[in-house]
């Protein structure tokens, strides 16, 4: 009977069906995992206070439960831990994020279930988000405003003071990056100008004096601004908060280092939701801190978008023209066949090869020549002869060219030939037919190709590591300094950010949630782009099917 059953082949059908289930589970599971880990990061999870006694001497641990795992008791015993009269086969251990990095040796620690004597989520436990040394956990004991302890509602007052300090810090930062950055940039331009005159042997005394005068003016301005800057910084340093930490000691935190604070154990559901979106907003809009392991990812988002847009501008005309050639003009000959093989191969060549090509050809050869021709004064430091956003965009443009070609060609092939013939019969030239009839009709397909290209480019990291991406770019490729768009600058990228923070940062454990959040952001963008592209394509197919009939 079983034999008969096997002979019928039905078990094998089930097996192939199982493969589909496995694929589906893994795709959805993967996305769910990223979403869960990435989105959970912003939720204000409760802060626990543990009293610990067991194989260790009695102490208190305050922190968030970061992770938990079940381990066999035998393995714990093997590693030399005395479990006392614990009888079970397995036990849970918790990874606690205790923060307070400068006061305790480890800001993460494992505690065994058996060592916990009592566990509570007390009121008034505050989490401080700081610009240095990560989070701080503890009880607010005293708020000091301008050297005087505050009476009354401490939390409310603290909120106000933190807001003030954050505001002042922001002003200082704006000043530093805006006006002071501008002055430094201008000074550098003056230096290059002087050097250019020198190289051309045109540096006359008048010119030198003029340059010096300009420089002096800038320096004076700088001094003024510097004064304001120091004033702002001093102002921000005015207030402090005294916090009792898990060792029971009073720690004074200067408020200019505190970015935000909250009392997770006292928050209601809606407060938590509000907090959640606040944190999410900060993640998207803030600059990274502490070697990228904290803060937001704004420069990476900006860099990714900027590079991808630049790439789209480059790739679209070429891709569309090539597709039109292949579909409308190409004769059935060897050249066309070779071009088709080239398209297939461009799509299949590993991305790292594009990176190598981009580095050698664009950066060193093309960029090097540009520097020699147009920027002799900057030598020996390169301008375009070093990895930068323009070279990344160019490299990725070649990489995504086949995507645009294939998609556009598919769109062109769906346009019924009667439409073209009709136009030609009315006396239009081929170019006019293309321009007025065919291309507008194919425009959704072109759009699809472009979106798919953008999605591909946004997720590509390997070639960018060679041609322009950096872990920390001090300036964006777009700013208020002439010529406003700086194509030679290096940039940050979400994908590289994931690689860098997840694998190169000194404190991987602390950075991990941030990596998940970044990954989730990237995945969302890319999948949204892909779904849009698929949607447009399906819509197009339906439309032309209707036209055909």
């Amino acid at each position: 009977m079983i034999r008969q059953w096997f002979k019928s082949g039905s078990p094998w059908i089930w097996m192939t069906g199982g493969a589909v289930s496995i694929s589906l589970i893994s795709v959805i599971g993967l996305l769910a995992l990223i979403a869960w880990r990435g989105l959970g990061f912003f939720w204000a999870s409760p802060v626990h206070e543990f009293h610990i006694q067991g194989s260790v001497e009695q102490h208190t641990v305050i922190g968030e439960i970061y992770d938990r795992e079940v381990v066999p008791a035998s393995r714990v015993r093997q590693s030399g831990v005395d479990l006392g009269d614990f009888q079970g086969e397995e036990l849970t251990r918790y990874l606690i994020k205790t923060g307070n990095r400068e006061y305790v040796e480890l800001d993460f620690r494992w505690i065994l279930e058996t060592d916990i004597q009592s566990q509570s989520t007390p009121h008034n436990l505050a989490v401080f988000e700081r610009s240095k040394n990560g989070n701080f956990y503890g009880y607010i004991e005293q708020v000091i405003e301008n050297g005087q302890p505050v009476r009354g509602d401490k939390v409310e007052k603290l909120e106000e003071l933190v807001e003030r300090a954050v505001e002042l810090n922001e002003q200082a930062l704006d000043l530093q990056n805006g006006d002071i950055g501008h002055i430094n940039y201008e000074l550098e331009r003056l230096r290059l100008k002087e050097r250019a005159y020198e190289l051309d042997n045109e540096l006359t005394h008048e010119r030198a004096a003029e340059l010096e005068a300009q420089r002096q003016a800038l320096r004076d301005q700088y001094k003024e601004l510097e004064k304001t800057l120091f004033q702002l910084r001093d102002d921000a340093k005015r207030d402090q908060v005294v916090v009792k930490d898990m060792r029971g000691e009073m720690v004074t935190l200067p408020l200019y280092q505190v970015l935000d604070f909250w009392l997770p154990n006292d928050m209601g559901f809606f407060a938590k939701v509000g907090h959640y979106f606040g944190q999410l907003g900060k993640f998207i809009a803030d600059d990274p801190r502490e070697a990228n392991t904290e803060g937001g990812v704004f420069p990476a988002i900006f860099g990714t978008v900027f590079m991808v847009m630049l790439m789209a501008v480059i790739v679209t005309p070429f891709g569309v023209v090539a597709a039109i050639y292949l579909h409308e003009y190409a004769a059935k000959n060897a050249v066309t066949k070779m071009i088709r093989i080239a398209v297939i191969n461009l799509a299949g060549v590993p991305s790292i090869v594009y990176g190598v090509f981009g580095l050698g050809f664009f950066v060193y050869m093309l960029g090097g020549s540009i520097d020699q021709l147009f920027y002799p004064e900057a030598s020996p430091s390169p301008v375009f002869g070093t990895p930068g956003v323009i070279w990344s965009a160019l490299t990725l443009a070649i990489l995504t060219l086949p995507v645009v070609i294939v998609s556009t060609e598919e769109g062109l092939s769906r346009i019924p030939s009667q439409v073209r013939q009709g136009s030609l019969a009315l006396g239009a030239t081929k170019a006019e037919t293309l321009w007025r009839i065919v291309v507008p009709m194919a425009s959704p397909a072109i759009m699809t190709g472009l979106i798919l290209a953008v999605a591909r480019a946004a997720g590509e990291v390997a070639p960018l590591m060679l041609v322009g991406v950096v872990k920390m770019a001090p300036t964006l490729p777009l700013d208020g300094n002439f010529p406003y768009v700086h194509l030679d600058r290096k940039f940050m990228h979400l994908g590289f950010h994931i690689y860098d923070v997840g694998f190169q940062s000194p404190n991987v454990e602390a950075a991990r949630p941030l990596v998940y959040a970044t990954a989730f952001l990237l995945v969302t963008v890319i999948i949204a782009l892909n779904i849009t592209a698929i949607g447009i394509r399906n819509h197009l197919r339906e439309k032309f099917r209707a036209l055909d009939n």
Partner: protein
């Protein structure tokens, strides 16, 4: 105007036609651009790679006449602008050797020597030291150097003589006998001299600098021992760090360990001559690990220390052929493993030891070459022959790379046997770079193989089911869902593999094994149970929904495997799988291993294979399968005998595309393996692939260096590899399409 509409329309027609032509031309050139782009990549990679396979060139720049008898030493300034000649009298003459004003003497400086010169020696080339042995038992060390100044923005070099050990000579023999022959070297804080005196003693001296508290001057305090050696002594050599002394006595090489000046030990005596030949000269190679010996039959042999059963011993590694002549001298380069041979017949030979390459050989002088010096950057050399000094220009950028060296086993210095090694850089200058593409190519194939092992069964089964059995409504959902995974950035897969999957697998290894066993069993059991279900329940579920029924089953088995992991571990592997693997199976276990890469990269490849294979199976004409079913074949028989057979070229092309993607994938392997270039098929160890290797090393490699070009070669190899796979796949797919259209 209105009176002549005909003409007007004619002119607009012309401009329209012209526009049409322009459009046609620009669109055609735009199309050809794609081809140009591919060719550009191909030829640019080739253009960068090509110089490493070029042979060396040697060309004479010019020469100037000198009195050959007087000259004992030669040297070149770093930019090869100035050459200097050291004379027996203690004079040092500096000559301009630039194209302009070639051969003009720039300066003549003199070293004051307290006694007559009885011998002369040079240090290892990178130290740039020369020394006179005097007949009162003293040794005077001098270093010709150059001061750079910029008067009027013009770079100017001024020759000077430096005395790194002070202007007083060192006493090499306390008994004051004349120094007949000697060798010396200087490391940071130590100077060593080994000297043969006129009364046939071999004296080893080590000097340590001591600063005089009163004057601040450094005094060199010597510790001396006499080496226990009799008979004729032909040559003395000393390693740059002073830790080893080589004494050649005819065909015997005595090797002394001289790390401790008060206890110089004879460690080995080599009878090192080739059969029926005698040794004529010896020299140490850069890095001082290798001893080069020239024989009078024209053979030059390389010896270095190798770990053997009796400890470290010098062994003959390989030999190089030069022309047969009565005297051959060997000269080593500053840092690289290149060596030169100069002969009595005026021939110059250029060799690289590691790659066993004879780079150049030719006649550069009429008579015997009396002296030779190579430039610091190894781009020029001086020879003294026929009473003139000639400047040779040498083009020898990439001697370390040969085709055979890249792909065959090479015996590197200090290794017990020839091996495939990739180790491109190190902290020291005189590092022997090890460029074997074999381990990283091996890693690439290993990663691709494990990925395919994981991906092919799942992707193909899923494709077959989706295309052939699944209902069309379900297919519309399933296909894009799987395909969306193709769009997932590989950096995310790599990050999950490295930071989530790798620790998970390490902790739950038994669960993974259990999954492999339980999944098929579970699916079959479900299938069997399904047949036992009452008909009316079975009929309620539509045909082609097996995969939906199986989802909870698979989830349950997954949960079960992980839940059982601990128990299995305790039951089968003594509570700790990792220890079991290391101790019982004797395998190394890396956390980021091939299993992790296989799974992660498998996921990256599944959608590629799935998508193409599904299309191939789906586009098999329906009348074929219907015919088969009508003849009484079961669904499965129809699938295996008709549909798969017809779609097989498409499936093949899908696998090729998948393989192409697995081979070139960078981020996943970069993040999910340890990136160690080892050659081992073990599933519990990592690997380093071509692509990851490029990503890791490219940003640090110096533009134009051999390393840079080899990385381009690696990219070129990847390019060709994927080109072949893709073209093959595309070709097969085209054929399939033609076949279907005729069916």
């Amino acid at each position: 105007m209105t009176s002549n509409p005909q003409k007007l329309s004619f002119s607009t027609d012309r401009s329209r036609l012209f526009k049409d032509k322009i459009a046609q031309f620009s669109i055609t050139s735009g199309g050809v651009m794609v081809l140009v782009a591919l060719l550009l990549i191909f030829f640019y990679l080739l253009y960068v790679v090509q110089p490493i396979f070029e042979s060396a060139h040697v060309q004479e720049r010019s020469s100037f006449a000198v009195d050959q008898q007087e000259i004992v030493g030669l040297g070149l300034e770093e930019q090869t602008e100035i050459a200097y000649l050291l004379k027996r009298s203690g004079d040092v003459d500096f000559y301009n050797i630039q194209e302009q004003g070639f051969g003009a003497q720039i300066a003549e400086l003199t070293t004051e020597l307290p006694a007559a010169v009885s011998s002369f020696a040079t240090s290892a080339p990178h130290l740039g030291l020369y020394a006179y042995g005097l007949d009162n038992g003293e040794v005077m060390i001098v270093k010709p150097s150059f001061q750079v100044s910029f008067p009027n923005n013009q770079r100017q070099l001024t020759p000077v003589l430096n005395y790194p050990l002070g202007s007083k000579p060192l006493t090499a023999d306390e008994q004051g006998a004349a120094i007949k022959r000697f060798a010396f070297s200087k490391s940071e804080d130590k100077v060593v001299v080994v000297a043969l005196t006129a009364d046939k003693r071999v004296v080893f001296s080590a000097y340590v600098g001591e600063e005089n508290f009163m004057t601040g001057e450094v005094e060199w305090v010597a510790e001396q021992t006499e080496l226990d050696i009799d008979g004729r002594i032909d040559e003395l050599l000393i390693s740059p760090d002073g830790s080893r002394v080589f004494v050649r006595s005819a065909n015997q090489i005595y090797i002394f360990d001289s790390r401790y000046a008060d206890d110089v030990q004879l460690t080995q005596v080599l009878a090192a001559n080739e059969e029926n030949a005698n040794i004529v000269s010896a020299q140490l190679l850069a890095g001082a690990n290798s001893l080069m010996l020239a024989n009078d039959n024209g053979e030059v042999s390389q010896w270095f220390e190798v770990n053997t059963e009796d400890g470290k011993e010098f062994k003959k590694i390989r030999a190089f052929e030069t022309s047969k002549q009565k005297a051959i001298n060997i000269h080593s380069e500053f840092y690289r493993r290149t060596f030169f041979t100069t002969g009595a017949n005026g021939e110059l030979g250029l060799y690289y030891t590691t790659s066993e390459a004879k780079l150049w050989q030719g006649k550069v002088a009429e008579g015997a070459i009396k002296n030779f010096a190579v430039a610091p950057r190894a781009n020029a050399a001086l020879i003294l022959a026929d009473n003139k000094v000639s400047v040779l220009e040498i083009e020898n950028e990439h001697p370390e790379v040969t085709w055979s060296g890249l792909w065959q086993e090479v015996w590197y210095e200090g290794y017990p046997e020839p091996d495939y090694i990739w180790q491109s850089t190190s902290a020291s200058d005189d590092f022997e770079s090890k460029f074997s593409l074999v381990p990283i190519s091996f890693g690439t194939l290993k990663a691709a193989m494990y990925a395919m092992l994981f991906a092919v069964p799942i992707a193909l089964s899923a494709a077959i089911y989706t295309a052939y059995f699944m209902s069309s409504e379900l297919r519309k959902v399933v296909k894009p869902t799987v395909e969306i995974m193709e769009a997932l950035p590989t950096v995310i897969l790599g990050f999950l593999a490295g930071l989530w999957l790798a620790p998970l697998i390490e902790e739950n290894l038994p669960a993974i094994i259990a999954l492999l066993v339980l999944l098929p069993i579970g699916i079959l059991t479900t299938a069997l149970a399904w047949t036992k279900l009452p008909e009316h329940i079975r009929h309620r579920i539509p045909e082609g929904a097996h995969s939906i029924i199986l989802i909870p089953v698979v989830l349950f088995i997954g949960w079960l495997s992980f839940a059982m992991s601990g128990s299995i571990e305790a039951w089968l592997f003594g509570g700790n799988v990792r220890q079991y693997i290391t101790n019982e199976l004797g395998m190394t276990f890396d956390q980021r291993n091939s299993l992790v890469v296989g799974i992660a990269m498998g996921f990256a490849v599944i959608p590629t294979i799935f998508s193409i294979a599904e299309d191939a199976v789906f586009s098999v004409p329906k009348h074929l399968s219907n015919g088969s079913l009508a003849l009484g074949a079961t669904q499965w028989q129809t699938l295996v005998r008709v549909v798969l057979l017809t779609a097989s070229p498409g499936i093949f092309s899908a696998i090729m595309m998948g393989l192409g993607r697995a081979v070139g994938e960078t981020m996943i392997v970069l993040m999910a393996t340890g990136n160690t270039p080892i050659m081992d098929w073990s599933i519990f160890q990592g690997m380093r692939t071509l692509a990851a290797n490029i990503a890791v090393e490219m940003p640090e490699s110096e533009v134009g260096s051999s390393h840079y070009r080899i990385l381009f070669l690696a990219a070129f190899v990847l390019f060709i590899f994927t080109f072949v796979f893709n073209t093959l796949a595309e070709f097969v797919r085209q054929r399939l399409r033609e076949k279907y259209s005729s069916l």
